[in-house]
C-alpha cells in the first residue's frame, strides 16, 4: 500500500510532462490545444521537404510559443532526447537510399536520401516540440476532458483516465518489487536473470488485475451503473478558438506557399 508519497515534490509518472504554470497555453482548454496540435502537425507533414525555409518559419512559431510558456529550455531539450532513434535513421538514410547520388565531402550520398533524412529530421523534431508544448501545459485531467469534448468514444476515454490514475500505483508496485529483489542481492545482469524478472511481471499482472476488480467494487458500492460522470472544466471561448484558427491559417499559408513554390520550380525545371 505504500506509506504515502512525498507531497508532489517528486515527479510521478501519472503527471506526464506537465509543468505547473499559468501562461496562456496553460489556460487554453485541452480540446483547443489538441485540435491545434493535430492541424499543425498534419500541415507540417504535408509541406514539401525541398522548401526548407518553411520549416524555419514553423520552428520560429514554436520557439515563440515556447517562450510564452516560460518552460526551461533544458527541460524541453531533455525531453527531445526521445528523438534519438529516428535521428539515427535520418542520418543513415542518405547512405542507403536509392536513386541519383551526389558527392558530399567525398561520400556518395543519395539525393533522395538526403532530402528524406532532412524530411524526418525537420518534421519529426517539429512534431516532438509541438507535442511537448501540449503535454507540458496540460494536466492529465484536462486532457481527459478535452478528449471527452472532442467526442472520442466514452469507454476509450474512461479507460485512459483509469490508466493515468493507476500508472503511478502500478509502476510503484514494480519498483518496490525490484527494490525487494535488490535488497536480497539480486541485480538483473544477464539473461539467466530474466525468469526472475518475468515472475515479477506475472505477479504485477495479477496484482493489477485484482486491483481492477476492487476498484470496480468500490465504484459499484458508490452507485455506479455504467455511465461515468462528465468531468467539468472551463469551456473554450470563441476568442480562444479564433486565436488557434488564425494561428493555423498562418501555418497553412506557409504550407500552401511552399507547395506552390515547389511546383513552380519543378515547372521551371521542366520548362527550362
Amino acid at each position: 500500500m505504500g506509506a504515502g508519497h512525498t507531497h508532489g515534490s517528486s515527479r510521478s509518472v501519472s503527471d506526464g510532462l506537465y509543468v505547473h504554470g499559468a501562461t496562456p497555453l496553460h489556460r487554453l482548454p485541452a480540446e483547443v490545444k489538441l485540435v491545434g496540435l493535430l492541424a499543425f502537425v498534419l500541415t507540417v507533414v504535408a509541406t514539401p521537404r525541398e522548401q526548407a525555409w518553411a520549416f524555419g518559419v514553423y520552428a520560429l512559431l514554436l520557439v515563440g510559443l515556447l517562450a510564452t510558456t516560460r518552460l526551461r529550455p533544458g527541460l524541453v531539450l531533455r525531453r527531445m532526447v526521445i528523438e534519438v532513434p529516428f535521428l539515427v535513421f535520418a542520418v543513415l538514410l542518405p547512405f542507403v537510399a536509392l536513386g541519383e547520388r551526389v558527392d558530399v565531402l567525398g561520400l556518395q550520398l543519395s539525393v533522395d536520401g538526403l532530402l528524406g533524412g532532412f524530411n524526418i529530421l525537420a518534421k519529426g523534431t517539429l512534431g516532438v516540440v509541438a507535442a511537448i508544448l501540449l503535454s507540458a501545459t496540460t494536466t492529465p485531467r484536462d486532457l481527459i476532458v478535452g478528449l471527452q469534448r472532442l467526442r472520442v468514444p466514452a469507454l476509450f476515454v474512461t479507460i485512459l483516465s483509469f490508466m493515468v490514475r493507476y500508472l503511478d500505483v502500478v509502476v510503484d508496485d514494480m519498483r518496490r518489487m525490484a527494490l525487494a529483489r535488490a535488497s536480497r542481492g539480486f541485480e538483473a545482469k544477464h539473461l539467466g536473470h530474466v525468469p526472475v524478472v518475468a515472475k515479477a511481471a506475472g505477479a504485477l499482472f495479477i496484482r493489477s488485475y485484482e486491483r481492477g476488480e476492487r476498484v470496480h467494487l468500490a465504484m459499484v458500492s458508490r452507485g455506479f451503473t455504467g455511465t461515468m460522470p462528465q468531468l467539468t472544466a472551463p469551456s473554450p471561448t470563441t476568442r480562444q478558438w479564433a486565436v488557434v484558427v488564425v494561428a493555423w491559417a498562418l501555418v497553412a499559408t506557409v504550407a500552401v506557399t511552399a507547395v506552390v513554390a515547389g511546383d513552380r520550380t519543378a515547372w521551371l525545371v521542366v520548362a527550362g
Binding site: M1, G2, A3, G4, H5, H7, G8, S12, S14, D15, P140, R141, I144, S161, F162, V164, R165, Y166, D168, V169, R211, R214, V215, L217, A218, M219, V220, S221, R222, G223, F224, T225, P229, L231
Partner: protein
Amino acid sequence: MSPVTTRDEEADVALELAGVAFAYPDGNQALFGVDLLVRRQERVAVLGPNGAGKTTLLLHLNGILGRAAGSNAVGTVRVGGVEVSKSTLGEVRRRVGLVFQDPDDQLFMPTVRDDVAFGPTNLGLRGDELQTRVDEALDAVGMLRLGDRPPHHLSFGQRRRVAVATVLAMHCEVLVLDEPSSNLDPASRRELLDVLADLPVTVVVVTHDLPFALELCERSVVLDDGRIVHDAATLEVLQDPGLLARHRLELPVGFDPAAVVPRGRARPSPSIP
C-alpha cells in the same frame, strides 16, 4: 448474544443481520450464522483474529456478498428495515457506505473533488447542490483546500480521509470501515479519529487497533471462526484478558483501557432523516 429488540425499538435499527452464513465456492465456510443488531448512531467495533471472517461480514452489509450477489448464502441482512436483495441494491448502497482498506482502490477519479462527487452524481445530484454536497464532505474530513489535487499527490493519511469523504458525500446512514487506522502515522490516526467521532451516523469498524476501538466505539463484537463469540461494551471486552487471549487479541504494552476517555457521541445533526 444479540440484544433483545422490542417493537418500539425496531424503528431505531440501522443494521440487522439474522442467521447470515456464507461459504466460498470451494466449500470453505466463512460465516456460520451471524446475528447482529446495530442501532442508529451506535458505534460498533468488530474485533477478531485474521481469518475470522470480518471483511467477509462487511461485504454483506452493502450486498457485495450474500444472496443479493447471487452466491450461496443464507440469512438476511436488513439496512434500516430494507432487506438487502438484488432489487434493493441501489437503495442499500445509498444507505451503507463502505470504506475499504486501500484508499487507492476507492480514489479512482482524476482529482479529489471528482472522487467525492462520484457517489452523489450517481444518486442524481447536479450543479450547485452537488458542489455543496462535495464541499461539505471534504470539509468534514478537513480536505477542502486540497480538492483539486490528483490522489497520487496526497499522503496516505490524506487519501484515507478523502476515501471517507467519498462515502460521506452520499449521506449514508451507516458508515462501515475496514481497518481505517492501519498504516497511519499517529497524527493522521488522531485526525481520522477526530473526524469519525464527530459524525452523526451509525459506524461499524473492523479493526485490529484496540485503542482506536476503545476511543471510538462504545460497543465491540468479537468475531472468530465465522461466529460472533462476544458482544459487549468495548471497555468490558478489553478488560477481559482471558477473552483477549482466546481470540488472539492483544493490547499494546502498557496500555490501560480504564485510563482512556472515549470520544463522546456527536450531537445529532438535523440532516439525519
